[in-house]
Symmetry: C2
Subunit: 264 residues, 2 copies
DNA sequence: AACAGCTATGTGGTCTGACCATTCAGAGCT
DNA sequence: AGCTCTGAATGGTCAGACCACATAGCTGTT
């Protein structure tokens, strides 16, 4: 933790620039977070390790247990921790690595707050999936290709309904992202997909006759799949962008953010 | 996401693969989060509004104040809330919209946990900034162009040191992202840049003679700037990718994540 | 009346201490 | 050996108190 006494500043400069205000972090839980983050950054704590028990951490850092718990909650909300009750080796608060869940919640929240228009999200999705498709064209192995093929098969099933189709659709894009070999991009792709899940499904249901749309989307998947198998990165990327733009254009209801508040 | 061991896996079948485990939400703070999120998603709460006081919320939801506070911390860590002490109108817990800070912390944390190799981050950065450059070529207004020009000027100053150069460098890329008119992409770009800030600076300092590198990078910025002013999206994107790849290649030290744990 | 200063009040921030619920390791019994 | 049961460790929750802080509004002076 840095001392917040660094008001120093350059004497000669006349307020040189902004620089984030060096807010005095007086809040206890932030100290705890800093302490934990320091351990993580220095490598003394890594995935799988367990934190000291809350009570112990509290006494070590000289804060109350509530403060420790608040810090743990914040880290947990970032997908960096997980708490398990009980005794023994598998209990306690352990360092984890589940950023995509955290990213999903974060994106969903801010989309809900209308900070991120759906159009912006779509643009990001295109950027990500172009990259994924390109990388997948080079890196995909047989198993990955099989996963993609399987989703297309599911999309082709005669009895497929909207939910199942959407699932298969999602799985196809996630499979590409994972095949690309870039965890970060894959996680972000998953997060975006999950953030928009409700709205996509909503749009699908507002589509009276969807069999034609379904077939078109499935065929586009086939083409993308083909390009990836051919190792044609450029074509895969272009087709992916085209596919996404087409889908968005065909599902205008997706842009309606406000729905009912009934969570599933 | 966690290990993708949870995905498919069973080739034979159905496995609706619902993803979301039916977690028994026994934890109190999760209920509180759901309650707040519901208000947000339904639009009853939006940016600027204030939440009921903690004590009141606690009694309304029939949980302890500690539970409420933990929920608030989690939302706060996502940049969706901010708490202020005191009385009167500007106090209390208010809904905010600061996703970029949250994204920064999240990325930094997971990069620290080695979940996201620097190479993956770079790939994402390229995807984002290609998009930004492309969009900026179409959307940039005079003010935005002026901001970019100013950063190039700062990079050209005779007395510029590594810190100042890095600041200007960052500002240039952020200016492009903002000029693109896509908040989400801009925030992510900022977050990535901030996440890597320490390591970039570290790499810069390990570079004995850096004047040549500095000039090259600055010239690349000039070219990108020129392409954007010309409205040449394709060229701007290509130059940006080239620029980033060049910088990464020239700063190999950036890939060393582990440092010493001694605070500066 | 206008202003300055003080106080009341409401808010988050923190701490303490207790108790509950869950889980596992190991003692003890069959 | 195998099973059962108990103890202990751990997170989950709660209640109540007090502190720090910032505004709103009252009070007193000019």
């Amino acid at each position: 933790m840095q001392d917040h006494s660094d008001t120093v500043g350059s004497p000669s400069a006349r307020t040189p620039d902004l620089s984030w205000a060096p807010i005095p972090k007086s809040r206890a839980h932030e100290l705890v977070i800093e302490a934990i983050e320091e351990q993580v950054m220095s490598g003394r704590l890594s995935v799988g390790d367990t934190l000291p028990p809350e009570r112990e951490l509290a006494s070590m850092l000289q804060v109350s247990r509530a403060g420790v718990r608040e810090a743990i909650r914040m880290l947990e909300s970032h997908g960096a921790l997980e708490s398990r009750v009980g005794a023994g080796s598998s209990s306690g608060t352990i360092i984890t690595a589940m950023p995509s869940i955290a990213l999903t919640r974060l994106l969903r929240l801010h989309i809900g707050l209308s900070n991120f228009p759906v159009g912006d999200v779509v643009e990001l999705r295109i950027a990500l999936e172009r990259t994924s498709a390109g990388l997948a064209s080079k890196n995909a192995d047989d198993a990955a290709r099989e996963r993609m093929r399987e989703t297309i098969e599911r999309m082709s099933a005669a009895e497929v309904d909207r939910e199942a189709f959407n699932e298969a659709d999602t799985d196809f894009h996630v499979a590409i992202a994972e095949a690309a070999g870039n965890r970060l991009v894959a996680d972000l792709t998953t997060a975006i997909r999950n953030s928009l899940r409700t709205q996509i499904l909503h749009a699908f249901h507002h589509r009276e006759q969807w069999t034609q749309l379904r077939d078109t989307l499935r065929d586009q998947h086939r083409e993308i799949f083909s390009a990836i198998c051919d190792g044609d990165a450029e074509r895969a990327a272009a087709l992916t962008e085209e596919h996404i733009r087409y889908a968005v254009a065909e599902l205008p209801e997706m842009k309606l953010p406000r729905d009912d508040g009934s969570g599933a």
